[in-house]
């Protein structure tokens, strides 16, 4: 049974997500929507890659389910296109009989998962949930990274110098010595850095600068 609904955070994530389906078989599209919607997810289907691509908003969180074999743009090509465009949308590939090696190759190139037809519905839905969460974290990490970068950009060059020395675990006295300034001035710069970066502790500051994920994203992750 799907257990995603346990955490309110995850619930919120799933509520915002849309499961995109691209399959040339419209019966398959409809039935997948029916199945996916049965667990309260939003689903949107397209019978060709081009239709999906013209409709797709990169800001929309979710995941993509696509058949490997399709006339025109295949599922693999669609995945490659998304990857090339830097889209964080996780791709689940559905393969027919004998397409497994192809799907494995796609996995190596960053596909999120693949399922062989006829697939187990439970397995599919679980994979979809994981993909959506994965996508959420990816987006979150990317967003925070952008935020940190913006904050770093707001620092003056002196503040940046102080920050660099702070994250090297230097004391204010040492920093003052290195930069040839008095300790009071360093204290003032340091306070500005912490404020501008929105960091409460030096450890937080270090994580931000090193690009590591910060608190709040840890719970509920599979």
């Amino acid at each position: 049974m799907i257990t995603l609904s346990q955490s309110p955070t995850v619930k919120a994530i799933l509520a915002r997500a849309v499961v995109f389906i691209v399959d040339d078989d419209s019966a398959m599209c409809e039935s997948l929507c029916w199945l996916i919607e049965s667990i309260g997810l939003k689903a949107k289907s397209f019978t060709c890659a081009a239709a999906f691509l013209s409709d797709y908003d990169p800001q929309q969180p979710g995941c993509l389910i696509t058949d490997v074999r399709m006339p025109g743009t295949s599922g693999l090509e669609l995945h490659a296109k998304l990857a090339a465009a830097g889209s964080p949308l996780p791709v689940l590939l559905i393969t027919g009989h004998g397409d497994v090696p192809m799907a494995v190759r796609a996995m190596r190139h960053g596909a999120f998962d693949f399922l062989e037809k006829p697939f187990n519905d439970q397995a599919l839905l679980e994979s979809i949930g994981q993909a959506i969460e994965h996508n959420h974290h990816q987006r979150e990490a990317r967003r925070l990274q952008q935020q940190h970068e913006q904050k770093l950009d707001s620092l003056t060059s002196r503040e940046r110098q102080v920050l660099d020395l702070v994250i090297q675990a230097r004391l204010n006295k040492q920093i003052a010595g290195i930069l040839g300034l008095n300790e009071k001035t360093i204290e003032s710069h340091r306070a500005n850095v912490m404020k501008k970066m929105g960091a409460a502790t030096v450890v937080e500051l270090v994580r931000m600068v090193m690009g590591q994920p910060l608190n709040g994203a840890g719970d509920g992750v599979a």
């Binding site: 019966a27 398959m28 009989h97 006829p118």
Partner: protein, 563 residues
């Protein structure tokens, strides 16, 4: 009369002297007369000789007037003997300056011989001046010998020599006369020899060089032998041999020649030599390229033949594989096709179930899902229908099929698998088996599929126990039955139980699908297809020879002979 007596004796003496003188005179006269006679005779003789000799004998006086003109050769210039006497040579030959000049020379006292060529005759004339007691020239005599024919012959000879020389120098080769000695000493050699061997012909003519020196040492014995053989038979000879040029370059020559005999004696050899190096080279090149071509043709032919055989074999194999792959591929294709509706049905079923569990579905929604499920089931059924159609589209009426041969051919195809899997194969194929009415290709697919299933079924067991039995036998007047048994673990429960029930297994091996198609094929032929595990049918009479594992059986109708 003494006086008288004296006188008379004196007179008598005188008379005697006179008488003696008369006698002398008479004698002299007689001598003179006989001398004159002799002279006349000798003159006549001379004239006869002169007038018949092929000469003109003439004499001129100091003024050039003919005092003598004799000889048979006068005819040549239209004169009779003596006719010109009294006429001046300068008048007669006023149109022939040469004669006038010659006569003047002679009358000036010169002794000489000259040749006079007239339109119709030619003379070699010796002029001799005549002198008086004071030594002054008072005439001359000339002896003109008729050389018309000699000159003509000479001229002809010269012309022919010239012609010969021209010919000799212009023929594309060397003309020679040589002795048949060890050196082939040269008598005549055309100048072309120089361009042939780089040694001037003159050096051969002066005997500084000879043929022996330039004939390739390896060919010399052959040349001697062939020349002497031809001479012995008085035949011409034709030789092809090598010469070594002055620059050490070896050339090929062809020589045509013959011995020239004087009576029974061989005088010399004559012939001509041509350079055939280029011809030989091109012949060799041609021969080589012909050889090369021939070699290549042979090689190519062999290759083609091999390729053809290989192709034939591949084609046969391919045809077999294609034929037999049909069941497997059909199964795979079918699996692919059926996956779609099956997946869709499952999606609807599972989606509906979840909604029902969550109590989040209306009756209308559920009915909608059922409709979708129904539609997909119909889709699956139509896929299967089209497969049956495909299998049945070929009529088998009247087709003859030697079942034993089909079995052998199918086994041949999996021979490698049998060997690799160390399967002990037992075939019981009675030679008196009647022909069945069936499409051999389709039956082979069925047998192959069954044999493969059997081999695969035994893959997980120890090699020693892997046995496969194929048996054909006539079970009734109109039916031939084929049995294929393996010693594997037997069919899985659900398959074994599905005997004669319509089914489609979606197992990855596709075995169930293959079986279903096989059954469709057999049934399309009017036969029966069934299978089971041997242990389950142990009560059957034919179980004595059973080897355990799974057993597949099918029947086919015997071809009815036209009566």
């Amino acid at each position: 009369m003494k006086i008288y007596g004296d006188m008379s004796s004196q007179l008598l003496d005188e008379i005697a002297v006179l008488r003696a003188r008369i006698a002398d005179l008479e004698k002299v006269e007689g001598d003179r007369q006989s001398a004159e006679l002799a002279l006349r005779e000798s003159r006549i003789r001379l004239r006869t000789v002169v007038s018949n000799a092929p000469i003109v004998l003439f004499a001129l006086d100091a003024n050039g007037v003919f005092t003598l003109s004799e000889g048979k050769a006068l005819e040549l210039i239209g004169y009779k003997p003596g006719e010109a006497v009294g006429q001046s040579v300068f008048d007669i030959y006023k149109d022939v300056p040469k004669v006038r000049d010659d006569c003047r020379r002679a009358l000036r006292g010169e002794v000489f011989t000259t040749i006079l060529e007239l339109p119709d005759a030619a003379f070699e004339t010796r002029y001799t001046p005549l002198r008086n007691a004071a030594g002054e020239v008072n005439g001359c005599i000339g002896v003109a010998t008729d050389i018309t024919s000699r000159l003509r012959a000479e001229r002809e000879l010269r012309a022919s020599e010239e012609k010969f020389r021209m010919l000799a120098e212009n023929v594309p080769g060397v003309i020679y006369l040589c002795k048949n000695d060890e050196r082939f000493t040269v008598i005549y050699l055309s100048e072309a020899m120089e361009s042939l061997v780089g040694i001037p012909a003159a050096r051969f003519l002066s005997d500084e060089a000879c043929f022996k020196d330039i004939i390739h040492p390896d060919d010399l014995a052959k040349v001697y032998q062939q020349v002497n053989q031809a001479i012995a038979r008085r035949e011409t000879y034709q030789l092809i041999y090598r010469m070594v040029r002055a620059d050490d370059r070896v050339i090929w020559v062809q020589e045509h020649g013959a011995g020239v005999f004087k009576g029974n004696e061989l005088a010399f050899l004559e012939g001509y030599i041509t350079d055939i190096t280029d011809r030989i080279a091109s012949e060799q090149a041609l021969a080589q390229s012909r050889e090369e071509l021939e070699r290549r043709v042979i090689e190519r032919t062999a290759n083609l033949k091999a390729a053809n055989e290989r192709n034939l074999k591949i084609q046969e194999e391919l045809a077999h594989v294609l034929r037999v792959a049909t069941v497997g591929e059909l199964a795979s294709g079918l699996a692919h096709e059926l996956n779609q509706p099956l997946s869709v049905i499952n999606n609807y079923v599972q989606g509906a179930r979840r909604r029902i569990e969550a109590k989040a579905i209306t009756q209308e929604e559920l009915l909608g899902a059922f409709e979708k499920i129904s539609a997909e089931s119909s889709r699956a059924a139509s896929i299967l229908q089209s497969v049956r159609h495909y299998l049945n589209r070929r009529s088998t009426v009247g087709l003859t099929c030697d079942l034993n041969m089909v079995v052998r051919s199918a086994v041949e195809l999996v021979e490698l698998g049998i060997r690799d899997h160390q399967v002990e194969l037992k075939m019981e194929l009675p030679s008196d088996l009647p022909a069945v009415e069936a499409d051999a290709v389709q039956i082979e697919q069925v047998i192959l599929n069954l044999v493969r299933n059997g081999i695969e079924a035994m893959a997980s067991m120890p090699a020693t126990g892997r046995r496969l039995r194929i048996q054909t036998h006539q079970t009734s007047e109109s039916v031939v039955q084929t049995t294929i048994e393996d010693a594997g673990p037997g069919l899985p429960g659900e398959l074994a139980a599905s005997v004669l029930k319509p089914f489609f297994s979606t197992k990855p091996t596709g075995m169930g699908m293959g079986l279903s198609i096989s059954r469709s094929i057999i049934e399309a032929h009017g036969g029966r297809f069934w299978f089971g595990n041997i242990a389950e049918s142990s009560t059957k009479a034919d179980n004595a020879s059973a080897i355990g594992g799974a057993r597949f059986q099918f029947t086919l109708p015997i071809l009815r002979k036209p009566t």
